[in-house]
Amino acid sequence: MAVMVGKGAMTNSIEELAGTDLLLVAGSNTTEAHPVISLRMKRAVRNGAKLIVIDPRKIELTKWATRHLQINIGTDIPLFNAFAHVMIKEGLYDREYVEKRTEGFEELAKHVEFYTPEYASEICGVPANEIIDTAREYAEASGKAAICYTLGITEHSCGSHNVQSIANLGMLGGNFGKLNAGVNPLRGQNNVQGASDSGALPTDLPGYQKIERPGVREKFEAAWGSELPKRRGITKITAMNQMLRGRVRGVYIMGENTVVSDPNTNHAQAALEATDFIVVQDIFMTDTAKLADVVLPAASFAESDGTFANSERRVQRVRPAIKPVGESRTDVDILLDVMKRFGVSQNLNTSSDVWDEMRRLAPILTGISYERLDKEGGIQWPCPSEDHPGTQYLHKDEMDSGIPGYFAPVDHIPPAEETDSEYPIILTTGRRRSTYHTGTQTGRASSFGLLVPSEMAEINPDDADQLELSDGEIVTVASRRGSVEVPIKITDKSPHGTIFMSFAFPELTQTNRLTSDAYDFITETPEFKACAVRIDKLNGTVTATASD
């Protein structure tokens, strides 16, 4: 999305979602992954808004939906292109907005001509009349419609194209830069926004300033008093491949359980094992820490001073409630010490010093001081000066990029791995409300075992019948990369031919031993949402195929 309109961030605020006329939620199991955002969606419905859920699974949010488009996994682009097709063909798009605020409309119109509802329906499995009705409803709510999406859209090998097809729709509907109307990626982890804001990216310095853009590097060189590397760096995915080739030899990992959270566990583990020296800084002895040469004990959030930035670009203060346990130290404290040993000269002692240096260098954050955060509460970037109130929604008078929004014609790309007779079932992965990510935190909360006791492979009742599986039966799920044992849960949440698993119980079930290491070629986001698997009974009986 950054390519088309500027920055990849929620354009609206969370609270605004309650005030929309139409909400289109794609690839987001909001009640489980972002429960508190789902409250705003439910409220919108109670206020009379339409809620359209696009998801292969019959997720809980569909109970509130006015329409559920049960799409085949990985076929979002044809669907969104068909929405665009209908809006253009029937003249329902926001002409004035498109003329004033965008470029590339003619190319898009020509491109999506091909994506008739009937054609898209064949690929995505949504009936053509539902596609037409949805496009009309979205157009009717022009200027008051918000789209929300999460990893169900981005965790595909065509993830960035998925996002572009969604942004196309947003611009056609005139839904960028307005109150209660926009396009909103809901961010997964507590501070994923802040980590990216801070410049912990191979291409960007703090505040999304491109390292390869003229003048940017020079500005930071002057501020930091040091020459900086000119060439962009490599992503995690590339780095792991380079490890296996011996080109990356040292790795410093802060607070991440790479082995469990990344796709194709066997590959991630082999990559790390191939390096010469690993430092892991974490609060627990994770599977990744076990591979390290040096383990540094870090303080938890409850012992740390600083800020998190949430999904709506809001910077909020994190304050220590207790002292770090044992000899553990905060990440800031450890890094200041490490940097001193590497001869980085800087006059920084506290989180507040670090923040002040960062905001001076990152214009989107310049106006946000700790004093203001303490007094006013969280502030949303961009906030260029201390008298600026912060920005509730992006792209108000012009696109954040400063230039018109650019329509991106994109085509359907099927998931990298398709099913065949040997691996006939699609595995899609995701979250459950009472467990979080790799389970290092929720796994340690007392009584949470009562809510979701273990990993489960959620399977459709018809498929279970055909495979002669019973509820709770432990089976082997195998992909081309590995296999795990897991109990079966029969539920009509899962569509025919698809099973669902999370990755929160790595001690018993390392789901990411199964997942594919295909990734989006622009963002290098892994394809967690689709890989081909087989289910075998534990007694060795190879099951019949579930495909039709």
């Binding site: 982890q189 980590a195 949470f448």
Partner: protein
């Protein structure tokens, strides 16, 4: 936030004139003027009910005086409001004494003992309302509920229905409802099942809106002393919504979590934020000192040993294979300041742009 304010009203509260929005309620005007009336059934998120009658005030409009519930009545231009006339104060005291007669002793209130003075007993103190002013009503039967999260003690329930409103209207979980009528009423899950068998998601919102000791956090009730509890305003460590929380600590030990009602999240939390945001911090499995791997096994090390070894090895690798042979991976779990330092370390300390975070996973 979306409503357009068309015009302002002038309202006088206890002699102070303030300006408020056209659709303001009398309660908004009272709060705006800086006065406080007890509101035992009111939660701003689900709106007014007007059932507890504690916010009754005297209003005078065009020479006519009447008593209204401040939470339900709309303000009007030129209205005069008296919040603490003798008659009103007396009236509130009587209502409080009637409510108290339905409850167990204030000295045993689980919320007052373990968390903070509950709204009911706070109001009782303010208005000098006596627990035994009226004959005590028979205590209700305690529901047997094995759920490990929410303690239900109906001896303190005053039937304000904040919990059922928050569950049905705000969360839309529909886990609890009012069971029975009149004096016999109680809050129950459908068919009187325990909560684990209900649609309850254990978001804990009922606990946090409850104005009495009827609903409390079972994980910590009885294990903390309200007067020793310290509250630290911070942010939930789980997802990207960033709900505001208060961490509860006692003598340097974490004890639990409460939502921060002043944060943009307006007091909302899910089961993770409410019940799983602090125990992992206290886990015995926390790493407590640096470790260095020697012959395949970790050995305890000092910080100097660990950081010296790190400096030595990274420096050697950089000299042998260049700065781009090292990568730094930052954390979406850690504070932004640490992420900033990590990228600066990578670029200035090591000399590589090979810095990434886990935003892709």
């Amino acid at each position: 936030m979306t409503t357009e304010i068309k015009r302002k009203l002038n309202v006088e509260v206890n002699g102070i004139t303030i300006e408020c929005a056209a659709q303001a309620r009398v309660l908004d005007a009272i709060n705006e003027a800086g006065f406080d009336v007890p509101t035992l059934c009111y939660d701003e998120r689900t709106g007014p009910q007007g059932t507890c009658r504690m916010c009754l005030v005297e209003v005078e409009v065009e020479g006519k005086t009447q008593q209204v519930a401040a939470c339900t009545a709309f303000a009007s231009d030129g209205m005069q409001v008296a919040t603490h006339s003798d008659e009103i104060v007396d009236y509130r005291k009587t209502i409080l004494e009637l409510l108290l007669s339905e409850t167990s002793s204030p000295t045993a209130c689980p919320k007052c003992i373990s968390f903070k003075k509950c709204e009911l007993h706070d109001a009782a103190e303010q208005y000098d309302a006596k627990w035994d002013a009226f004959p005590s009503l028979v205590a209700r039967e305690k529901p047997k509920d094995p759920n490990p999260f929410i303690q239900r003690d109906y001896d303190y329930c005053i039937s304000c229905f904040r919990c059922t409103n928050i569950c049905n209207d705000w969360e839309q979980a529909g886990a609890i409802t009012v069971h029975g009528r009149g004096q016999e009423n109680s809050i129950a899950s459908f068919f009187n099942n325990d909560l684990l068998q209900s649609p309850c998601t254990f978001c804990g919102q009922c606990i946090n809106t409850c104005p009495t000791g009827a609903l409390t956090d079972k994980k910590i009730v009885g294990k903390t002393k309200a007067e020793d509890l310290k509250r630290t305003k911070t942010i939930c460590p789980y997802c990207g919504v960033g709900c505001g929380i208060h961490l509860l600590s006692e003598n340097g030990q974490l004890k639990g979590t409460e939502p921060d009602f002043d944060a943009p999240s307006r007091g909302s939390l899910c089961v993770k934020g409410q019940f799983a945001s602090w125990e992992f911090v206290k886990s015995e499995e926390r790493l407590k000192y640096p470790l260095i791997k020697k012959n395949g096994a970790f050995e305890r090390a000092s910080w100097d040993e660990a950081l010296d070894l790190m400096t030595k090895r990274f420096t050697e690798i950089r000299e042998e294979s260049g700065p781009d042979s090292i990568v730094c991976w930052s954390s979406a779990r850690s504070v932004t300041e640490a992420n900033y330092l990590m990228q600066k370390f990578s670029r200035v300390g090591i000399g590589t742009n090979n810095i990434d975070n886990c935003s892709r996973t």
